[in-house]
C-alpha cells in the first residue's frame, strides 16, 4: 500500500482516528507519520531501555565514573556499560557486583529496594550465594579496566582491580 501523503513510499503506519463519531484511517509511511507527529512503534523501539534505565540511575549520588562503567561483574564479566546499552544484566551476581548502582535504580523504579514478598530457600535450605566459575573474558575485561583506571589516575579503583585480577589469576593457576 502506498503512503497517502507522499505517494512514494510504502505505507507502514495505519492511523485510525475517531473525530465526532467518524472513523478515519490514514495510511502513511514512517517519515510522513513522524512529520504528522504520530509516534511510531519503531521510534519507540529505537529508544533503548538501557538509556532510560541509565538516566534513572543518574543523579542518584552513586553515578559511576567512566572507569567504573567498565568494571566487569566478577562472575560473568558484564559491565555497567553493557547494562546501559542492553537494559539487561548479565547474571544474578551482577546485583552484588553493581550493588550500590542497582540499589539506587531499584529504588527509583519500584520506590523500594526491600523484597516483601515470599521468601525463598533453595531445596528447603537457605539459598547459597551463586557460585559462578569466573571466565577468561572477565579477566581480560578487568585488565582493560585496570589500564583505563591507571590512565585516568583513578588509583583507588586501580588498586581494587589489581587485587581482583590477582585473585582470579590464582584461582586459575590453582585449579
Amino acid at each position: 500500500m502506498q503512503c497517502e501523503n507522499c505517494r512514494e513510499r510504502e505505507a507502514v503506519i495505519h492511523l485510525t482516528q475517531i473525530v465526532d463519531n467518524t472513523v478515519t484511517t490514514m495510511h502513511l509511511c514512517e517519515p510522513c507519520a513522524a512529520e504528522k507527529g504520530v509516534e511510531t512503534g519503531s521510534s519507540v523501539a529505537k529508544f533503548p531501555l538501557g538509556d532510560f534505565l541509565a538516566s534513572l540511575g543518574k543523579s542518584g549520588g552513586s553515578e559511576p565514573t567512566e572507569a567504573g562503567l567498565d568494571t566487569p561483574c566478577r562472575a560473568c564479566g558484564a559491565t555497567l556499560r553493557d547494562f546501559r546499552q542492553s537494559g539487561r544484566l548479565g547474571c544474578a551476581e551482577c546485583y552484588a557486583s553493581f550493588e550500590s548502582h542497582l540499589r539506587d535504580l531499584l529504588r527509583r523504579l519500584h520506590g523500594s529496594t526491600r523484597h516483601l514478598g515470599e521468601g525463598y530457600a533453595a531445596g528447603g535450605v537457605r539459598a547459597e550465594a551463586p557460585t559462578l566459575t569466573p571466565r577468561e573474558p572477565a579477566l581480560d575485561d578487568l585488565r582493560e579496566a585496570l589500564r583505563r583506571a591507571v590512565e585516568t589516575e583513578n588509583f583507588e579503583l586501580a588498586a581494587e582491580l589489581r587485587d581482583r585480577i590477582r585473585v582470579l589469576e590464582q584461582a586459575w593457576t590453582s585449579s
Binding site: 547474571c91 519500584h110 523500594s112 523484597h115 514478598g117
Partner: protein, 359 residues
C-alpha cells in the same frame, strides 16, 4: 510438530466461564525466575542455554502440578507455528524473537500443563505463567504459586535477601510477578472517558498495554492492565491492588455502557448491528477491521442486544481470526493479502453456525 497435540490448544480460558467474562477476557500472571550459577539468557552461549533447558526439564517432569503436561521446543517449529503460539498468548514476543534469531540453537521452550505453563530461556531463564478465563487473580495465583514452589524446590532460584528474586531486567526484580487482566472497554472509548482512566492508572502504579503485551498496539478496544512495580510489596498486596483497580475500571465501563444506552440508544444499536452485519457478510476482512467489528459485536452481546451469540464464540474468533492462525490453516504466509478473504469466510462460517444453532 503438531500444535493440535496441545491439550485444549492451551486455550482453556476461551470458554468464558470466569467471573465478569463479558468484560474481562482473561487473567494472566507470570513469575520471572532465574537459576543460580548460570548467566542470564541474553549473555548465555548456546551450550549454557541448553544446560538451563536440561535442568528445567528434569525439574518440570518431577512437578506434581505439571503432570500430563507437555514441552514444545521452539527450535522444532517454523516461524508460522511460533507465531501461532504467540497469538495464543502462550509464547512471548521476546521468546519468539530469540528462537528466530538463533535458528536451531535457541533452546527456547514452552511447557504447558492445563492453564499453567513455563517459558524457558526467555529474557529470564524461567517465566512461569498461567492464563485463566475472566477476572480470576486469586485462583490464578494460587495455581501458579504451587508450580513455583515445586520448581523452586528442584532448581536453585537466584534470590537475594534484600532484593528478592533476581531478574535480567531490574524492572522485574523482587517478586518477579506481573499480573495482567485483558479487559474490553468499548464503552469508555466511545464516551471518550478512556484517556482519563488510562492516565489514572499510571498514578496508581499500574500500566496498560495492547492485546499482545509489551510494545503492542491497542486494537479492538482491548487493554491489558497490569502492575508496574514488582518490588517493595508482597505478592498479595500487588494482586489486591490490581484487583481493586480492575473492579473499579469494570464499574466505570458498565456505567459508560449504561450512559450510551440511555443517551444514544439508536447510535449504539446501529453500531452493534452494523458490526454484526459486516462480520456475517463481508468477503474480505483485515485483522484490524475484524478486531474492531468483533469489539462492536462483543459490546452488543454485553448489552444483550444480540441474542444467542456466546462470548465463547467471540473469544474463539478473536484467536482464530489472527494472521498466523489463518496462515497455518491455509498453509500460507501470515502476510499473504489473500488471508483477508480467508478471514472473512472463516468468520462468516462460525457466525452462521452459531445463528443456525439458535432456537
Amino acid at each position: 510438530m503438531d500444535l493440535q497435540l496441545i491439550p485444549d490448544g492451551g486455550l482453556g480460558w476461551l470458554e468464558a466461564s470466569g467471573p465478569l467474562a463479558h468484560i474481562v477476557l482473561s487473567t494472566r500472571i507470570r513469575l520471572a525466575r532465574n537459576v543460580t550459577s548460570a548467566v542470564f539468557t541474553g549473555r548465555a552461549s548456546a551450550d549454557e542455554r541448553r544446560a538451563v533447558l536440561d535442568a528445567v526439564d528434569a525439574a518440570w517432569s518431577a512437578c506434581p502440578s505439571a503432570r500430563g503436561g507437555m514441552r514444545i521446543l521452539l527450535d522444532d517449529l517454523d516461524a508460522t507455528e511460533r507465531e501461532v503460539l504467540h497469538e495464543r498468548h502462550l509464547v512471548s514476543k521476546e521468546l519468539m524473537a530469540s528462537a528466530g534469531a538463533r535458528p536451531g540453537r535457541s533452546a527456547a521452550a514452552v511447557y504447558l500443563a492445563g492453564s499453567l505453563g513455563a517459558m524457558v530461556n526467555e529474557e529470564d531463564h524461567l517465566r512461569l505463567q498461567t492464563l485463566q478465563s475472566g477476572f480470576a487473580l486469586q485462583g490464578a495465583y494460587a495455581a501458579l504459586e504451587r508450580l513455583d514452589a515445586e520448581l523452586g524446590a528442584a532448581l536453585p532460584f537466584a534470590f537475594h535477601h534484600e532484593f528478592g528474586y533476581l531478574t535480567a531486567c531490574p524492572t522485574n526484580a523482587g517478586t518477579g510477578l506481573r499480573a495482567s487482566v485483558l479487559i474490553h472497554l468499548p464503552g469508555l472509548v466511545l464516551t471518550k472517558e478512556i484517556s482519563k482512566v488510562l492516565q489514572g492508572l499510571a498514578q496508581v502504579g499500574l500500566t496498560f498495554r495492547g492485546l499482545y503485551g509489551e510494545g503492542s498496539e491497542v486494537v479492538g478496544n482491548f487493554f491489558q492492565l497490569s502492575n508496574q512495580t514488582t518490588l517493595g510489596k508482597s505478592e498479595e498486596e500487588l494482586l489486591d491492588h490490581l484487583g481493586k483497580i480492575v473492579r473499579q475500571v469494570v464499574s466505570y465501563e458498565e456505567q459508560a455502557r449504561q450512559v450510551l444506552r440511555r443517551d444514544a440508544p439508536t447510535i449504539i444499536e446501529d453500531k452493534v448491528w452494523r458490526a454484526y452485519g459486516l462480520l456475517r457478510h463481508a468477503r474480505s476482512l483485515s485483522f484490524e477491521e475484524a478486531m474492531n467489528l468483533l469489539s462492536g459485536v462483543r459490546l452488543g452481546v454485553g448489552l444483550k442486544l444480540i441474542p444467542g451469540l456466546s462470548v465463547y464464540t467471540l473469544n474463539k474468533l478473536l484467536i482464530f481470526a489472527q494472521p498466523a492462525h489463518l496462515a497455518a490453516l491455509e498453509a500460507r504466509s501470515p502476510n499473504d493479502p489473500e488471508l483477508r478473504a480467508t478471514r472473512a469466510s472463516y468468520v462468516r462460517r462460525v457466525l452462521d453456525e452459531e445463528a443456525a444453532a439458535r432456537p
